[in-house]
Amino acid sequence: MAKNKNKNNNHQIHESAGSRTFDVVNVFIMLFLCVVTLYPMWYILCASFSNNAYVSAHPGTILWPHGFTAGSYMLAFTHPLLISGYANTLIVLLVSLPINMLLTIFAGYFWASKNVMLKKPFVIMIMITMFFNAGMIPNYLNVRSLGLYNSLWSLILPGALSVFDTIICRTAIEGIPHSLVESAYLDGANDLKIVFKIIMPLIKPTLAVLLLYYGVGHWNAWFNASIYIKDNDRLPIQNIMRSILIANSNLLNSAGADTDQVDMFADTIKYSTIILTTVPVLCVYPFLQKYFVKGIMVGAVKE
């Protein structure tokens, strides 16, 4: 952090006018990006609080909530499964994330390690699963045969390890100077200790990213739950949001006669469900964000 500032000060002292122009241009690019991104977000927020009839008459051009109403939110809030939905998602997150992280770090560490005789077959075994997936029906039958059907474990265990994330983890571990690990070995540490005491603190930013990847993955997931779970009160929040969306608009249905029903919140409900599912993630974000905005000094730990 301190060094960062130092660096910037240095620039200002002997950097050219070109550099300063770049700063200005850069800020403008960022501002442009923000505006382009924010407008649709702002539109979604405003539309979610607007009168449904107004929204359907003025698509794409709402700068301020019109006919302010929280009706579509009330519709969602009074859903009988809202609480159980959030609770289930929370449980899945709390149980899943430690499992995800442990498996990923173990697999990543194993993959990054050298001089292991059986590394190749195991790595190939992991890689294959990235390309070949059994498909919906076999996976479903598997969940049933393992006795996980209609239990939250069916949302936690399948997909507990992402190969993609494992590779990211491995790349980060490989970036750690080998001497650090060597010296730990000399001190008599075993691999388990090395992982927890040395590796993990060093790859904190990557771990934060992985946590975010897994967390958001679980947060957004709905399809598996929709076929692995039988009881509505064990469904995660995304399924509940989907049901509110489906019941109140015919966007997601394709059949003819039976989709005629449209509610007084048909247009605004899709926006409020977005707000309701995005806000919790946005609230968590700053806590993770700090890990990859500030750098940690690998160099300082070195030696």
């Binding site: 910037n8 850069n26 991104t37 649709p40 194993f110 070949f132 997936n133 990213v209």
Partner: protein, 322 residues
């Protein structure tokens, strides 16, 4: 497996396999213990159901089960059926065009964003920009596409802008020429912030001493970026690129289904939408066998691209996936 150990064993003095295994175990015991839960997971949740892939060679009927369904003859029946489809080449072409463009423009975008963010001096501003650009990732596809549709209408936002500059507006979704552009731009828009996170994380692990040393040598900002920051990001970029190439045939069907209309089928119909039609047919039963066969075909293409990219990057850069 055996082969590789043998070839490695050649130069060393010829110790028996069991001796070497025992030695490996004593050295790497903990590593094997760590990989054990991973292996158990893979066997239970990936390899056990993977048996279901045989339906690509069967005429699978849900109620008859995987074992009860008859084999097709010849064994490549579904593959042949797909290759002989009148739309086969069109599907392949569209898939690669859309995917290629997404990689060409969509892949570098988050890297550039990460680099630019890195140059921002105010930490507060940096965090704000980051948070904002990350938000669109959470907009559901349904809403995202309905917004795109609204903007693309004849009297929509894009037409209004074009007309302000003296052009004539149109419905851009009805013109096949614009579809790839719309597809790629909206993809970038939605993913740029989210995808830059991994690079931002990688940026933090670049050794600050390298910057100091470079500055002592009189490097300017541009040189710092190209000689310190970019090389520092390189391993991550390469790995992400290889993984992306190993995903080349996988285009999400949802977005295309929500955006397309009959006048642009010729540029927007891709393999995944075709698989969707098989799995959710407008009439009759889902053709799971054919869908699985095409899935296998897809996987093979993906593997080939991944291996090729990996080989290429091994040759040209120092980093690679394996």
């Amino acid at each position: 497996m055996k082969k590789s150990t043998k070839s490695k064993a050649q130069p060393a003095d010829r110790k028996s396999l069991s001796y070497r295994l025992a030695k490996d175990w004593s050295m790497n015991k903990w590593k094997y213990i760590m990989i054990l839960p991973v292996v158990i997971y893979l066997i239970l949740f990936c390899y056990k159901p993977m048996y279901g892939l045989v339906i690509a060679f069967k005429n699978y009927k849900l109620t008859r089960g995987i074992d009860g369904s008859p084999w097709v003859s010849p064994w490549y029946y579904w593959f042949q059926n797909f290759f002989e489809d009148p739309y086969f080449w069109r599907l392949i072409k569209n898939t690669f065009v859309l995917s290629g463009l997404t990689i060409l423009f969509g892949f570098p975008a988050p890297i550039i964003l990460a680099l630019l963010l890195n140059e921002i001096k105010s930490n507060k501003f940096k965090r704000v920009v980051q948070t904002i650009t990350y938000m669109p990732y959470f907009i559901s596809m349904v809403v995202m596409c309905s917004i795109i549709k609204i903007f693309c209408q004849q009297n929509g936002l894009f037409s209004t802008i074009v007309e302000a500059f003296g052009g004539t507006g149109q419905n851009y979704l009805m013109n096949g020429a614009y579809f790839p552009l719309i597809y790629v731009l909206s993809d970038i828009w939605q993913g740029i912030g989210w995808n830059s996170i991994i690079y931002l994380a990688a940026l933090t692990s670049i050794d600050q001493q390298l910057y100091e040393a470079a500055k002592v040598d009189g490097a300017n900002r541009w040189q710092l970026m190209t000689h310190v920051t970019l090389p520092g990001l390189m391993p991550t970029i390469v790995v992400m690129f290889i993984l992306r190439m190993g995903n080349i045939v996988n285009i999400g069907y949802e977005k295309i289904l929500l955006l397309y209309n009959p006048s642009i089928y010729n540029v927007s119909d891709v393999i995944s939408t075709y698989i969707y039609r098989l799995s959710f047919p407008t009439s009759g039963m889902p053709l799971y066998s054919k869908a699985t066969a095409i899935g296998l075909f897809n996987s093979l293409i993906n593997v080939v691209f991944l291996l090729f990219t990996n080989w290429l990057s091994k040759k040209t850069t120092e980093s690679s996936l394996f």
